[in-house]
């Protein structure tokens, strides 16, 4: 199989992009953990810039991950299978809800 297999089709390219997004997120997490071990209370400009760079990767990764939930989770409600659309919608609702709660708490802690 040629090394360029992932350029053959748009679907393959998007798959590789999806997998690649984990890399900057892993680096971001390691950086965050390192700063925490240094007992840093304020993060530097470099970390802030890198966080902004990582944001689209995180959003893309989250979007693709949650979109695939409909294929992974199979639930039955009253002996009827729950449609994958409902499962995906519930995942996005939980994601948005959790983001709002965490954002609210962070803003409260910052004050």
């Amino acid at each position: 199989m040629p090394a360029s297999w992932w350029t053959r089709k748009r679907h393959y390219f998007l798959y590789v992009a999806r997998e690649f997004t984990a890399l900057p997120l892993a680096i971001w997490l390691l950086w965050l953990l390192y700063d925490i071990t240094q007992k840093t209370t304020t993060f530097g400009t470099a970390f802030a810039v890198f966080s902004i760079v990582c944001l689209p990767f995180a959003l893309y990764h989250s979007f693709t991950f949650l979109s695939l939930a409909g294929s992974i989770i199979h639930l039955k409600l009253l002996d009827r299978p729950v449609s994958s659309r409902v499962i995906v919608a519930s995942q996005f609702a939980l994601w948005i809800g959790a983001s709002v709660v965490i954002g609210f708490l962070l803003l409260r802690l910052a004050q």
């Binding site: 199989m1 297999w5 089709k9 679907h11 997998e19 294929s71 992974i72 199979h74 002996d79 299978p81």
Partner: protein, 246 residues
């Protein structure tokens, strides 16, 4: 439209004469809008070059024999219409990721061994005598596995799967989908016999959810779904109390 024509570029390879496969062009009449790529290959074989080798049988998307790469995409050639490609040329190649035997014929032994390894038949702990009657199933019980039972073993999903292309040890989409078909069947009691095969590192856990297997399936089976759901089920079986009961 008597003068309408189309170019078919087909892979030719004779292991006794050729070092590597090559493409050969054939200019054929496109005399009927319902013509499919398999019709074009049959025309070449009967009217131009009788030595062209390829597999086919039913001509109606049931037998799964005529899978080939059509312009780089795995397709049943009996279901790939020339009108969708005309006036462009059509390149027909053997299915990706399999050893080539001759022209458009691939070696399917690996798939056959993998298919057999998941025991794609109903396993009972104790067979009841025929006189005991049928195994009854409700429509809801059939719905649990129906889509996975549509698989016709055409191997298009293997040709589309880069994971299988990079690692031929991978059990692959169709075999796992069929294992799930039987594991979800209320009449089947063979889960424990299939678990060592489907739970292997080279089986469900090798899949990284590219998803192209489900895109190319001509029968609407969703092997990617079968694999991910099996991952979830085997994990829950391992984690939950009483998960390993029969």
């Amino acid at each position: 439209m008597p003068d309408k024509r189309i170019t078919i570029r087909a892979t030719r390879y004779d292991p006794d004469r050729d070092e590597k496969p090559r493409l050969q062009s054939y200019d054929i009449p496109f005399y009927d809008e319902s013509m499919v790529v398999l019709d074009a290959l049959n025309y070449i074989k009967s009217d131009i070059d009788g030595s062209l080798s390829y597999r086919w049988s039913c001509r109606m998307g049931i037998c799964g024999s005529c899978g080939m790469m059509v312009n780089g995409t795995p397709k049943l050639t009996c279901n790939a219409f020339l009108r969708d490609y005309w006036p462009g040329a059509i390149t027909v190649q053997p299915l990706n990721n399999f050893p080539l035997i001759r022209d458009l014929v691939i070696d399917m032994d690996d798939f056959m061994h993998k298919l057999k390894s998941i025991k794609p038949w109903i396993i009972r702990k104790q067979e009841l005598p025929l006189g005991a009657g049928e195994h009854h199933q409700t429509n809801e019980q059939i719905d649990d596995f129906r889509q996975f039972s549509e698989c016709i073993n055409c191997m298009l999903c293997y040709a589309a799967c880069p994971v299988y292309g990079l690692n031929n040890e991978f059990l692959g989409p169709a075999a796992i989908a069929l294992a799930r078909r039987y594991n979800l069947d209320s009449r089947d009691q063979g889960l424990k016999q299939r678990l060592p095969v489907i739970g292997d590192a080279e089986a469900i856990w090798e899949c990284s959810f590219v998803g192209e297997c489900s895109v190319v399936c001509p029968k609407g089976v969703d092997p990617a779904k079968a694999i991910q759901q099996t991952k979830l089920d085997t994990t829950m079986r391992f984690v939950l109390p009483y998960g390993n009961r029969d």
